[in-house]
């Protein structure tokens, strides 16, 4: 068995694009007119990852704390942008809480993983950048689910919210059940993926490590650790956004406004 992964030469690599012809054929047969989307998707992915590779190569050759900070900041800003653009209807103060929640929870959990568990300098790009990427990326997905659920359930239950307010209930009493439901939808997918992890298919991070020659027993430790870190990062980011942010829905006259 090899200790490092086989380098791909560019011609052999290009052969993988032939598989897209199969996708194109299938789409034509099924009359799915998204050939343009397929082209744009694969083109953008290739270009974006290529640039990403160039940046990471440069950073690994010239390691400097500033580069790690900038890369982390870029990841956080990008995920914040994604979350906010998918959840435009919330008020500005709530959005500020979301921004802070993602930034702080992502950084904190990454720091714990890299510096406390592994014991490596936080500014080591080889460790911090990929791990932060996984934690922040997954937290972002969880947040999106939670906020989407919150918005939808509250919009569907306007009558209920109004009736309870009229009956003299406090905004806290009225909102807490909605927050709990939203938080649950953020956590359930991660918990479910934990249940079937390691049966049949190997999760992404482990696959990468094993291909690169990491010993399986080391790879599984990293995989378990990253799953727990992702679960915690998601829970922390979502919980703080919701349980601090919901106060922005309550006006000084104790009326509930979320849009």
């Amino acid at each position: 068995m090899n200790t490092t992964i086989i380098e791909l030469n560019i011609f052999q690599f290009s052969s993988i694009y032939l598989l897209l012809l199969i996708v194109l054929f299938i789409m034509k047969r099924a009359k799915i007119n998204e050939a343009r989307l397929l082209l744009i998707g694969s083109l953008r992915m290739s270009i974006q990852l290529y640039l990403c590779g160039l940046v990471l190569t440069y950073i690994f050759k010239n390691p400097h704390p500033l580069f790690v900070i900038l890369y982390l900041a870029a990841m956080i800003l990008f995920s914040i942008h994604r979350v906010l653009s998918k959840n435009k209807s919330f008020n500005a103060s709530f959005k500020k809480v979301i921004v802070l929640s993602i930034a702080l929870s992502g950084t904190l959990i990454t720091f714990f993983f890299v510096s406390v568990m592994i014991g490596v300098n936080f500014f080591n790009p080889q460790y911090t950048i990929p791990i932060a990427g996984m934690i922040i990326g997954n937290s972002m997905s969880g947040m999106n689910l939670a906020l989407k659920t919150l918005n939808e359930t509250m919009n569907l239950n306007k009558n209920k919210i109004e009736s309870l307010l009229n009956a003299g209930a406090t905004p806290d009493q009225i909102l807490k059940p909605f927050l709990n439901t939203a938080l649950e939808t953020a956590l359930i997918p991660t918990l479910n993926s934990m249940i079937s992890m390691g049966i049949i298919s190997l999760p992404g991070m482990m696959t990468g490590q094993i291909l690169s020659g990491t010993l399986p027993m080391t790879a599984i430790l990293y995989q378990i650790a990253i799953m727990i870190a992702i679960c915690t990062g998601t829970a922390l980011a979502t919980f703080s956004s919701l349980y601090i942010g919901y106060k922005t829905f309550i006006t000084p006259r104790k009326i509930i406004e979320w849009n």
Binding site: N159, K160, E162, S163, L164, L165, N166, A167, G168, A169, T170, Q173, I174, T251, R253, K254, I255
Partner: protein, 211 residues
């Protein structure tokens, strides 16, 4: 508890005449769609903010009063009924739990249902009720809160005339005997004429412009 409005308007769309709601009486608010009837009720129970003009509750500016306590004293029964899944009893229990108050006993619940002209046992599941029956359960729950002021927004909208008349008659008798104030928004002139101690007409913004 007397209620007065002075120079009250809503988001510069609707301007209200100065209104005096007398204590222990029934006041009907009438007007066409868009004249701000529902909005007025929401302004009175502080579920819409009072930003232009003044509302005085016992001669005190409404904006200085704590809203949650106010909503327990001035109770608004909205036009759209909302009930929790379950029985009529569990609905009473849930609403009372939100108010941190002890729920009435079974006989009292039955009495409130009868008051709203609903001949039903509290164990009935609300899932199988018609729109009109749900509205009466909803009304019964809010009437049972025994607030000093009761605001009703189109309480008979889902009821036929006979049932609606009977329910309003019962509620107003009930309120009068307990010296409570009632404000009813209705489009039914016959209801207002027969049951209203005071009738207030609201004009739509178009009418206000033209006059």
């Amino acid at each position: 508890m007397n209620i007065k409005t002075r120079n009250l308007s809503f988001k510069s769309i609707i301007t209200y005449p100065n209104i005096d709601i007398p204590e222990n009486r029934s006041t009907f608010i009438m007007g066409e769609s868009g004249s701000g009837k529902s909005t007025l009720l929401k302004l009175l129970n502080a579920t819409h903010p009072c930003e232009t003009g003044t509302i005085l509750i016992d001669d005190t500016d409404i904006n200085t009063l704590e809203p949650i306590a106010l909503r327990k004293k001035i109770c608004l029964i909205a036009q759209s009924a909302f009930l929790f899944p379950g029985t009529i009893s569990t609905n009473f229990e849930t609403f009372y739990a939100y108010r941190n108050q002890d729920v009435p006993n079974r006989d009292d619940i039955r009495d409130f249902l009868t008051l709203c002209h609903l001949d039903m046992e509290p164990e009935a599941n609300v899932e199988f009720l018609s729109g009109g029956e749900k509205q009466r359960v909803y009304t019964a729950i809010f009437v049972s809160f025994a607030s000093e002021v009761l605001l009703l927004d189109e309480p008979t909208s889902a009821l036929d005339q006979k049932t609606g008349d009977a329910m309003i008659n019962n509620i107003l008798d009930h309120q009068r005997s307990r010296k409570k104030t009632t404000v009813i928004v209705s489009h039914s002139a016959s209801l207002a004429d027969r049951f209203g101690d005071q009738i207030i007409h609201l004009d739509t913004p178009e009418k206000q412009e033209n006059s």
